[in-house]
Structure formats: structure tokens, C-alpha cells
Symmetry: C2
Subunit: 337 residues, 2 copies
């Protein structure tokens, strides 16, 4: 991009109605996006995204689907300076609906890259937007070393992981050829998620913290010895924002990055909860082993050595207490119990 | 596959007119394909494949294109027991023709997998063929460790490599779901190739051996300190055949394998030539550095530690003399000079 530093940026968040998309929007409002001002943000999603009232730039909600070629063409035609691609169907859905998963999570992403490449070719000005893709540690499949290094191979054990890994490869190749300027970041499991439990197998990692803090009972379906890799929603949004302002040269043709996080066992999560909210909170967690969830979780990464991402300036929490505190600061709404 | 051990096998070699496809056919004629007899072999290619006269089973040549959906459907409808997918446009072609490379090397492979999945769903007998995919060490991109391990990540620096890596991911996922029974094997550079030099940047690795043996001059475009990873055409065909008869369970959801090979420098290649053909042959090699080829070659893998493939019974040459001897045995045709 050869814009002057005073020209403003247009931003599109694909998947902008989701939890992480909304967090990202608030980060853009609070912290901007690098040296150049933001002119506008478009929240693209299948549902109408909430628009905050306090934004210092216009925020637009655009409903559409990446399964619709005309919507993909619309996105490319906006000639955004930065696109965040957060749209996907979740792991469990992609596993149950093989065709739908490959269509939405992989084929649509390819079509988006193709539309951006056409815009690059059709433009007279070497249009080449920064594309930040939210990938996932689901690209990895067991068996693992204790800590997964930056050069560990991708052997996904879910279709969702395979689809993310495929899009990473394409983003790297389209970027190498100069059609886009892409970065793929592999997010840790995001906890503590605000809101209600969902159907994801990972839902309990948030639930065992969030529900007790809200005076509700929580179910722990796995042994408390299970180790996992966490980052807060605030960190996830921070990763995306930081990825958008990285210097391309620093990526050295390897634009896929394992994001930092905090590795801990469920027992350590629970002790962090105890230290912040006391024994009463902890007593609301009931162990109820679920063999199906245990089987899924044992194939998940437990720990990473994210040398590259740390060197590139990505930061996350250093304790699970910090992760809980982010939830208390950003999302907790005290109610009368 | 639930066939009885006496029922014969139908085999399709996609890319059956090519050098490796033809070598594979001769291996199937000589050694069969596991415990069950071969009923027939179909050589599918864009050009008519040569048919040998000595085959103990019917061999058919079928011309068609993986860009044509009706040809892909025809392949799936054959309900072959084993399919070898060797079809691709080469690295240089895919690099110059971005769209064509992604269409032929990636999109077509996906459509083939989809056609096989439809056949699986439509059949009442859980049709699930063994698919052997010829991938390449081009899925790797520099910088490398001295020896690339089985769990090193794929960061291709060519579109060809990205396309191969994408198809590997899809074959693994379609196999995990039980729609096919796939194996992807990453072939070393195949030397000594018979025939004429081609436009591949790697052509000289064969040329500096083949041309001198045939009394012709050869050009070496890189320093003789360049180290590379080699296997003979005979080994490549052997890998494919062995991959077709591997037990699926032995792959443990990681059906992508780095193939064994022999790592040596160009100087060591030349010394092997000297030991087999003398100083006269070596004197026909002229050093003529080509910066473009040098730049490409420096991003290529040099050596591997192929623990898994060796444990699974894949074998290759243990010296470059052996590799030259394979050329002399299988392809060399003495002429009067």
C-alpha cells in the first residue's frame, strides 16, 4: 500500500457481528489502527451487527453471505485497506456437515481471495489490501510434543482444522505473488467468553469460570488434569489489530503465526478462580465426566512455544488470574443473585 | 475395501502417460499389487498413453482432462480399487500461470475427491478406494534445518508446492471421514530422468549424469556444493506401488509421508559418475552459473530424516552410484558416438 500517512483507512470485518468481531471493533475505536486514521468500518455478517454509538468514524452493518458470489464481489469492490476475515462455521458444525463446512470455511475463502486478486489486476494502482485471517490451533492434531514449536506440521483431526490450514496456504501463496498482503493468525481457545454456554466442546473452559462468577452452577466434563492453551477475548482482538499493522517484510514469506497464550490445567484455572472469587465460587463447579468431550479434548494442543509471534510484538496474558480479570473488567455485569 | 483376496483389482493411473506413470505400470506388470491379482489398468492422461504388449492384464488408455467434470465423473464411476493421482502441471508452469496452476493442481484434485465421495455415498457397498497422491518436497520452503524431520511444517515458496500441500490436507480429511482411503507421498527429485532435458529448474540434476553417459555435453548451472535430495525413477514407482498396499491403520490419521531418498552434493553426484563412467564422462560437464536457477535451488530441501516412511517399509537407493546404476539398467540405450 502506497498511501500517504494522512489518508484514512477503510476497514471491513467479515464476521463483524460475532463476539471477537465486536471486541475488535471496540479496540479499533479505542486504539485506532496504526499511524493512519480510520475512515470507516464495515461489519459484514449473515446477521445485522450491533453498531456502537460512540465510534469516532462511521460504522456500517452489511448483511450478506460468503456463499453468495455477489456479496464476495461487493466486499472486494469496497477496496478496503484492511480486511479481517473472521467468518466460519464452528468446528462441531463443520464436522457434522462436511459439505457445508468445506463450502463456507474453505471454498468461500478461496473465492474471496480470487475476488481480491481480480481487484488487484483490474485496479491501476496495485491494490493489495492487508487481509488478516483468524485461523485456529485446530490446524494441529495429536500426537504433540509438550510444547508445539513454530515449525510443527499441521495434521488436523477435524474438517474445520483442515479448512483453516488450506486457507492459510492460499493466503500465503496469494501474498507471495503480491495479490494481497495477508497474515493468518492461529488463535488459542478464547476464554473467558461472555454470554451463554454454546455447543462447542470447548465451551466448559469458559463455563467453569463464568458461571460461578455469576452465581450459577457449572459442569466440568473432563478431569482437572487437562492442560489447554488460552487467551482472553481482549487478547484475541489485540492479536487481530496487531496483525493488521505488522510490516509485511517482517513475515519473510511465512505469514502464518501461532499466537501467544497461557497454558494451564483445569485445576490451575480453578485455583485462579478461587484466588479471585473464593471457595463459594469454586463450590459451584460439579465434575461430571463426559467421555465424548474427553475424547475430543485429548486431541487438542496443550502448550506452545510462540517465538515468532512474541518477537513480532504479539502479547497476551501471563496468568489465568489475568484472564479472569479481563472478563471481570470487560464483560462481567453484576446482578442480584 | 472388503473384497475377498481372490477378487481382482481395477487400477487407474491418472497421469499414466508420464514418465513416472509408465514406470509404475511396468512395476505393476512385474510385481503386481499386493495379495490380490490385477484385473485391469487404465492409463488416464491428456495424451494417449503407450500400452505395453507384455501385460498379463488388460491395459487401456483413456484420454481426458481433470478440468472436465465429465471426465472426473467417468474416473469415479470406474470404481477402481486403487487410483494413482500423478497428474499435475509442473512447478514452473504453475508459477507462470497462476490461475491454471490452481485450477489443474488444486481445484481438479478437489473435484476428484468430491466425485469419489459421491460414489461412496451412492454405492450400497461402502466404496472407499485407495488413492495414492504424488506430492512433492516442494511443499517445503526455506529456511530449513539440515535434515527435515517428519513433523516439519509446510511453507511452500511456489504455487505448485501450495497446491500439493492443499490436496494433501483434503486427502487426509476425506480419508479421516472414511470417504476414501488416501495416502500422499512427497517424492524427492527424481533422477536420473531418461529422455531429453526439460524446462524444469531441476533438469540439470539429471542432465549432468545422463548427457555425459550418452556422450553429450552437459551444463551445470549451480555450484557443485549444492546439496539435494534424490531418488531414482525406479524408487519413485516403487514408492507409489508400496503406498497402494499399505495398511490404512498404520498411517494413524497422518496419511502424508516424506519419501526416503539419498542426499548428496552435485560434487558427489559427479564423483559417482566418475566412478562408473570415468574421467571422459565427467569432462563433458561444463560449469555455467545461472543466477536464476541458483536462486530457485537455494530454496529447495537438501536432506530429510524419513523415519516414518522407512518404518512403513519404503525403500530407496543408498548411494548416488546406485541411482546412476538404475539409469544404466532401466533406461540407458547405448548408441554409437
Amino acid at each position: 500500500m502506497n498511501h500517504s500517512s494522512t489518508q484514512g483507512q477503510r476497514v471491513i470485518i467479515i464476521g463483524g457481528a460475532g463476539m471477537v468481531g465486536q471486541k475488535l471493533l471496540y479496540h479499533l475505536i479505542a486504539d485506532g489502527l496504526g499511524d493512519r486514521p480510520i475512515d470507516s468500518v464495515c461489519l459484514f455478517d449473515v446477521v445485522t451487527a450491533p453498531i456502537p454509538e460512540n465510534a469516532p468514524f462511521p460504522v456500517e452493518s452489511k448483511t450478506g453471505s460468503l456463499l453468495d458470489q455477489s456479496d464476495i464481489d461487493w466486499i472486494a469492490a469496497q477496496r478496503a485497506d484492511a480486511l479481517f476475515h473472521l467468518a466460519a462455521i464452528v468446528s462441531g458444525d463443520a464436522e457434522r456437515n462436511f459439505e457445508r463446512g468445506w463450502d463456507i470455511n474453505a471454498r468461500s475463502s478461496w473465492q474471496l481471495l480470487e475476488a481480491l486478486r481480480q481487484e488487484h489486476h483490474n485496479s491501476g494502482d496495485n491494490y493489495r489490501p492487508r487481509l488478516v485471517f483468524s485461523s485456529s490451533i485446530a490446524v494441529f492434531g495429536a500426537p504433540f510434543p509438550d510444547k508445539i514449536s513454530d515449525d510443527f506440521h499441521t495434521t488436523p483431526l477435524t474438517s474445520y482444522g483442515a479448512q483453516k490450514a488450506m486457507t492459510e496456504l492460499q493466503i500465503a501463496d496469494y501474498s507471495r505473488k503480491g495479490y494481497i498482503d495477508g497474515v493468518s493468525i492461529r488463535l488459542p481457545t478464547v476464554t473467558v467468553r461472555p454470554g451463554k454456554p454454546n455447543l462447542a466442546a470447548s465451551s466448559f473452559f469458559s463455563g467453569i469460570i463464568r458461571e460461578p462468577l455469576n452465581g450459577q452452577p457449572a459442569v466440568l466434563p473432563v478431569a482437572d488434569t487437562v492442560r489447554h492453551w488460552h487467551a482472553s477475548p481482549r487478547s484475541a482482538a489485540g492479536f487481530l489489530r496487531h496483525a493488521a499493522i505488522l510490516e509485511s517484510d517482517a513475515l519473510q514469506n511465512r505469514p502464518t503465526l501461532n499466537m501467544p497464550g497461557f497454558s494451564c490445567t483445569v485445576a490451575e484455572q480453578i485455583e485462579a478462580l478461587r484466588s479471585l472469587a473464593g471457595n463459594d465460587a469454586v463450590s459451584r463447579i460439579a465434575l461430571a465426566p463426559d467421555p465424548e468431550i474427553e475424547a475430543i479434548v485429548q486431541n487438542w494442543p496443550r502448550d506452545f512455544d510462540t517465538v515468532r509471534a512474541l518477537a513480532l510484538g504479539f502479547t497476551s496474558e501471563c496468568s489465568y488470574e489475568d484472564i479472569i480479570q479481563v472478563y471481570l473488567d470487560d464483560d462481567f455485569e453484576p446482578t442480584t443473585h
